[in-house]
């Protein structure tokens, strides 16, 4: 098995495990990801796609209720550099990630503020 194939199957296995463990995903009728969202989090305009699960905050940032900085922060939450976070999904068409806690989306963060855990 090639390295690429191994990585691909490992990635699929990781997503499958997340799904089986109730990682907050459901699948929308359109076939895309449909993560659970906490109360004041706005669904992504164009849906979601899967990403690596663990990220490190590389630049301190707020969490946002949508992938628009102007539209408002998640109140009372701030991510400091060095913190590890769970990314539930990437937003289609936006360089933003949905960050989650216990499988539920709690806010959006620009990808530029995060780095995947290797």
């Amino acid at each position: 098995m090639s390295v690429k194939a191994t990585l691909r199957s490992t990635g699929m296995l990781a997503v499958t495990i997340v799904l089986l463990l109730g990682g907050g995903y459901a699948f929308a009728q359109s076939g895309g990801l449909n993560p659970r969202l906490s109360g004041d989090i706005v669904p992504a305009p164009n849906g979601y796609e899967a990403v690596a699960v663990k990220y490190i905050v590389t630049r301190s940032t707020d969490l946002y209720i949508s992938p628009f900085i102007w539209a408002g922060k998640v109140l009372g939450v701030h991510l400091n550099a060095g913190k590890s976070v769970d990314a539930l999904a990437k937003l289609n068409g936006y360089d933003w990630l949905l960050v989650g806690k216990n499988g539920t989306g709690i806010g959006y963060v620009p990808i530029s503020a995060l780095s995947p855990v290797k």
Binding site: P45, I69, W70
Partner: protein
Amino acid sequence: MAANHCEHGEPISLKTYCLLRGRLVGIAASLLCTAAVWSGLHAQPVAGPDGTVPDFSSNKMTWVLMNGTAYFRVPGDSGPGPIVDMPGHEYVADYNTRVADTSNPILKPWAKKLMDINNKRVLAGGIPFYPTSRCWPGGVPGLLLYPGEPVFFIQTPKEVWILYQRDSQVRRIYMNVAHSKNPNYSVYGESVGHYESSDTLIVDTIGLDDKGPIDRFRTPHTKQLHVVERYTLKNGGKNIEVAFTVEDSGVFTMPWKAKVDFERGKGARSGGPWEESICADGPRDYFVDDKAGAVPIPQAERPDF
């Protein structure tokens, strides 16, 4: 070497040569420049079907927004119209803040939820976000709502420029050409236009980025936004009505129409010298209040170049 570059210290003969050469180059440049300006000023614009062109710009005329900072319904339009004040929360300038009526059927569910959250925060005393309050450029159609400061038009055969005194914002409309196949995204997008008649300019804009709302009700938009504006002279040229159609399948369930009106500038706004009006996003956040979810200074996600 010295003769080639006309530097100081060369013999007199070379100095003379350089002087002459400099003058000749200057004269040639002046002639070329004059020809270009003459050509630009006197080439005939592509007129509308009736052979005439509306004049938005004569005698250094300026225009100023009328009737406040919200869009209005287009008379006769049977569609849903723009987002307006929530019933019972009508906006009064300098007294309260705008709260959106999100029952308008144009909103997709995610957009309605976003605006409902913002309404809730504003009604709880939070500071609403207006692009102009943070010196963000207005976008399209958002810059139509710039209040107070005058707007100028420059009409040439190939381009119409709409200049806003506020922060010297400029829109460039390329006349009688088609849109690019893949325009870059930007605050003012790519605008193409044509004259429809002796009183109407049509402007079609795509390629708009999604970095701000399109109105003061904090209505979002995506990069799919497509705006068609009709600038029409009214009342014998005393007013401009800007009626526009908005399409954005990422946010809206259907196209909708709205309008704003401009009047000729009066007094100090009547066409005096262009005043420098700087409004630049600074490093300080004057609205720091985490309870309000204040908006931070924008940061680019990637280099522009």
